[in-house]
Amino acid sequence: MREQRLVDLRRRLIPYFLLGPGILWLILFFVVPMYFMARLSLDTGIFPEFRFNWQFSNYSDALSAYDTQFFRAFQYSAAATVIGLLIAYPLAYAIAFRGGRWKNAMLLAVIAPFFTTYLIRTLAWETILSDNGFVVHTLQTLGLVSENGRVLATSGAVIAGLTYNFLPFMILPIYASLERLDTSLVEAAKDLYASSRQAFLRVTLPLSMPGVVAGTLLTFIPATGDYVNAQFLGGAQQAMIGNVIQSLYLKQTDYPSAAALSFTLMAVMLLIVFIYIRIAGSEALMGEEIGGADVIE
């Protein structure tokens, strides 16, 4: 009897033992830092003398000073997400259903950018789009860019960079959901006299939505906070909120403003993600797939 209870207790404690170390790490180095950042965002003073003061005006001051960069970050990342989706969905579809024996090679090409460092890829784009490069010359010849016009330091360059850099994150989840799609359902739709278009819109697309939701989130979230693309491909006119936070923290040591901006960014982001998941379905985030695990195996 007693032994049985002991076994029961041990069984009930197993999940906590398994969970413990990892969750503790996340609490200590994700949750607790959030608390400290929140506190720092209500401090007053000048580096290195800060005092906790419930200074809520830090938020309004920082937001009114940097609202342009704040909104620009969301605009650029939304644009990059939409363009990325337009590139990724047909590509994922082509790989999943028309790849044939080229499927693996195509998948390798999709994850190939992962094998070069993010910063080097962005630098490569800087080289490609540089003022005396081939792309700018062509665009100038075609009259799409004025004689002394540039591609670098425009919003287009930053959006193009963001789109490029997060594209694999968009393609892989969409591919994963298309790949496991039961094609007999599409055939059934066609047997029931659905046109290819109807079959796609009514069967394939809805079934691949988890991949689309995961892909758009995996693009939108990192793109909004990114400051590498704006730094390398843009100029001062294209600075995003990430550039501001980075500079306030690491160069100007205005920690309270930086913390207030980071906290607002996170809150807005979580709100957007929450609403988006409510509308689009939650299995993509809480369920099984997010990183395109099937492909990496």
Binding site: L108, F115, T116, G133, I221, V228, G242, L285
Partner: protein
């Protein structure tokens, strides 16, 4: 008669045109996909090509001429090599820790129902929904308030933190499709829980763990944003590149990038081929139609 002769070629031209049109229409998605893949590979091609460049000044931005002289001394720049070694050391350690912790969490979440399961799920998802700049900024806030000096330890703490969630997500996806009856069978045949885990569970979830570890390694070695906040005076490979971007990127950066790229591609291709060979050897059943 004449009219007939005149219409015939026109008709034929139309059918040829419509055939091309039909072919285009049928293969539009493949062509589009091919173009998209070309777009994904352009910067990589540029990196490889520019690793053979012979730049005149310190900026490797325009093509000056082919040379192998830099390839003869890929590790000539000691700061770059040090940064690379630091990144490798950091990524290996972060991968090891986050894979162990993440796999344990995934096992707990999929296999057990317990108080706090939902909260744990949220705690795992929220870091992935947080922009990296916020992760870095919050950690820096804490380190500043504690007066902790930044360095390898703070880098490792940060890297493990953002890797754990992704490991959990990948390993969990593998565990969800897991056939529990295999474990029960092992237990019925007299295996104790530990043996069952070692002989049945582990081999089955191993691919998931490897996939999680690979993702963690890729995230860690490539991380710039969080490292920028938590590195202090330490310089990882991405941090070196960021610093060098202002001063001028040495050709060696492109050479090392090309090396890393080639090693990974060769390893991937090799693994896939091995896997196929193993599958072929293991398949008792005749090959199914493709």
């Amino acid at each position: 008669m004449e009219a007939h002769a005149a219409t015939l070629p026109r008709e034929r031209r139309e059918t040829a045109g419509s055939r091309v049109w039909k072919w285009l229409k049928r293969n539009a998605i493949v062509i589009y996909g091919g173009l998209a893949i070309a777009y994904m590979l352009i910067p990589i091609a540029l990196i490889i090509v520019f690793s053979f460049n012979d730049p005149a000044g310190k900026f490797n931005f325009t093509w000056q001429g082919f040379t192998l002289s830099h390839w003869a001394h890929p590790f000539q720049i000691s700061e770059l090599t040090d940064a690379l070694m630091l990144s490798l050391r950091l990524a290996l350690l972060a991968t090891l820790i986050s894979t162990v912790l993440g796999t344990m969490i995934a096992l707990a979440l999929v296999r057990y129902d317990f108080l706090g399961r939902r909260a744990s799920n949220y705690l795992i998802v929220i870091p992935t929904a947080t922009p990296e700049v916020v992760l870095g900024a919050s950690l820096l806030s804490m380190f500043l308030i504690y007066g902790l000096s930044l360095g390898f330890t703070t880098l490792l703490i940060a890297h493990v933190m953002f890797c754990i969630s992704f490991v959990v997500i990948v390993v969990r996806s593998r565990l969800i499709g897991f056939d529990r009856s295999l474990e029960e069978a092992a237990q019925d045949l007299g295996a104790d829980p530990f043996t069952t885990f070692r002989k049945v569970t582990m081999p089955l979830i191993w691919p998931g763990i490897i996939a999680g570890a690979m993702l963690a390694f890729a995230l860690s070695i490539d991380d710039f944003v969080v490292s920028n906040f938590t590195a202090g005076t330490e310089v990882t490979f991405p941090l070196y590149i960021f610093g060098a971007a202002q001063r001028g990127i040495p050709v060696q950066v492109y050479i090392i990038a090309t090396m890393l790229f080639s090693i990974t591609v060769i390893a991937m291709v090799f693994t896939v081929l091995q896997q196929r060979r193993a599958d072929r050897l293991a398949s008792v059943r005749p090959e199914q139609e493709v």
